[in-house]
Amino acid sequence: MRKIVENFTVISNEACNLTNFHITLQSDHPLAEVFPGQFTNIEIPDNKDVFLRRPFSIFEVNNENRTISVLVKVLGRGSLTLSEVRTGSRLSLIYPLGKGFTLPAPDERILAVGGGSGVAPVLHLVRYAEANPGSADVILGAKSETEHLNAIDSYGKYAGLHYTTDDGTMGVKGLVTDHPLFGDLARYDRIYACGPLPMMKAVAREAFRAGVSCEVSLENLMACGFGVCLCCIEPTVKGNLCVCTEGPVFNINDLKW
């Protein structure tokens, strides 16, 4: 599959809340085709303490404007520097990377679960699949209301939007798996999850119990992002697989969780 290294221009960088930033990047050229669940490896500018690129899921894609966007959660030095990037500056991206989610068939009912920075790929999915609130539910989990992303209300046209927070300040109090929708998973044909490892494992456990096909998107540490270093591997029933090329999306049946 053709991959590209290219300088994009930052056309906006909006704080969604204290620790999440929505950065939109414009290409000088027509975009390569991007599928939900694919990611980009971004060169962090100007930070003496960062050597390697940092991977981020591609959130929104606009082929007309030649833009893609990422949701960046500030976790450490690289994501912090990225969150401070200014409009007009140039960032080097390698994209599109990885294999995306298995797209649902038009008549399939889906549940997409996103936690923390994991909301980007699942929202990309419901939009790309042209889902609708009748056939798709999204549960977004966070620690507290203040960590929930604003400006995603527009996704209400693709899916029923549901929230959970650890402290109960928004939506259902508890973990994503505490949401009532988890009470009857059997009505879904497919479940998708992306977020912190414990969250994905909890979702996987419920999906497995309910016998519903489930895909998760892993965030293993990466050096290259395009398959040459073998640093990002995940043990699977098919042996050690590269998360960056054979993932980041895996069917839970293949994982050794």
Binding site: V50, R53, L221, A223, C229, L230, I233, G239
Partner: protein, 303 residues
């Protein structure tokens, strides 16, 4: 027009820039970005006789101007390589060089004999310097007798250009270089990674599953360059230099220090196009400085 081609014994390179083993897969991932026939050579990922799963995750940690890796020679074994991968890559119009590994001399021989049969594999790199495996690997590369022994045995079974990849984790790398030269190595490549370690001070745990791993990247360049310079002055066979090369200026420094060719490793992770940019940069440098042949740079350090 300037001449960029060099010869390492029978290995003819259209330019002196190769990718480093373990940093460029089997060339296919680079081919997703550009036409790999522009490269002087592709050093294929380290191969062992049989499937190796490699080490547990996590296998990498970022460090100041570099990184540690603990991949541990994950590969599907030489037979899989020959039946599945080689047919897909054998038509790349560049040199394919196999990086040969083993836990015992017998294992090294087993891989070597098999790849000796492959027409399109024009040279082999004998890896006696991998710090990330429990048996074999670096153990062979840090003492003269063992380096001599494995080189001698491999020389017996390999007809084409034999490059021995040296470990930097030694007191005197020239001793090892001279030892393998005496046993018939056609070239030495250096350096492999330095044994290093990283700790998460907050969790108080090592950052690598294996505790220690191999350090690569610009951080090691000054030491690698010194070793290449020392070895170039100590042996008569051509030297291949690597360690932290990120751009054409870095590559030219290794050539000036005496390397006949260079390899680019970790830089590829930052940008897979860097090897091509280095080729262009060297050509540009030669023109700017009114040289017409790359050989005028090799060993051209003015001391």
């Amino acid at each position: 027009m300037v001449n960029l081609s060099v010869k390492i014994k029978d290995l003819a390179l259209k330019n002196p820039v190769m990718t480093a083993s373990g940093c460029s897969g089997f060339g296919e991932e680079l081919a997703d970005f550009y036409d790999v026939s522009q490269l002087g050579a592709i050093l294929l990922k380290g191969i062992t006789p049989r499937n190796r799963d490699g080490n547990l995750y996590p296998r990498m940690a970022e460090t100041a101007s570099g990184m540690l890796n603990a991949v541990g020679l994950q590969n599907k074994g030489v037979d899989y390589f020959i039946s599945e991968i080689y047919p897909r890559i054998k038509n790349y119009d560049t040199n394919l060089i196999v990086n040969v590994n083993g836990s015992t001399v017998e294992e090294y021989i087993e891989v070597t004999e098999k790849i000796n049969e492959l027409d399109r594999v024009t040279a082999m790199e004998l890896n006696i310097s991998c710090p990330n495996v429990k048996e074999g690997g670096m153990a062979f590369g840090v003492s003269c007798p063992s380096a001599e022994y494995v080189t001698r045995e491999i020389r017996k079974v390999y007809d084409k250009t034999l490059i021995v990849k040296l470990s930097p984790n030694v007191t005197d790398v020239t001793e090892i270089a001279k030892a393998v030269e005496a046993q018939g190595a056609d070239s030495v490549s250096l350096v492999n990674t330095f044994l290093g370690m990283a700790i998460d001070s907050e969790t108080r745990k090592p950052l690598l599953s294996t505790i220690t791993g191999g350090l690569s990247g610009p951080a090691i360049k000054p030491i690698a360059l010194r070793m290449v310079w020392q070895v170039s002055n100590a042996v008569k066979i051509p030297v291949i230099g690597l360690g932290g090369i990120m751009n054409a200026a870095d590559a030219i420094e290794f050539l000036l220090a005496g390397a006949s060719a260079v390899q680019v490793g970790t830089a590829i992770f930052k940008d897979p196009r860097i090897p091509l940019q280095i080729i262009d940069g060297i050509e540009n440098y030669l023109q700017r400085h009114h040289f017409n042949d790359i050989s005028q740079l090799i060993g051209g350090l003015q001391v």
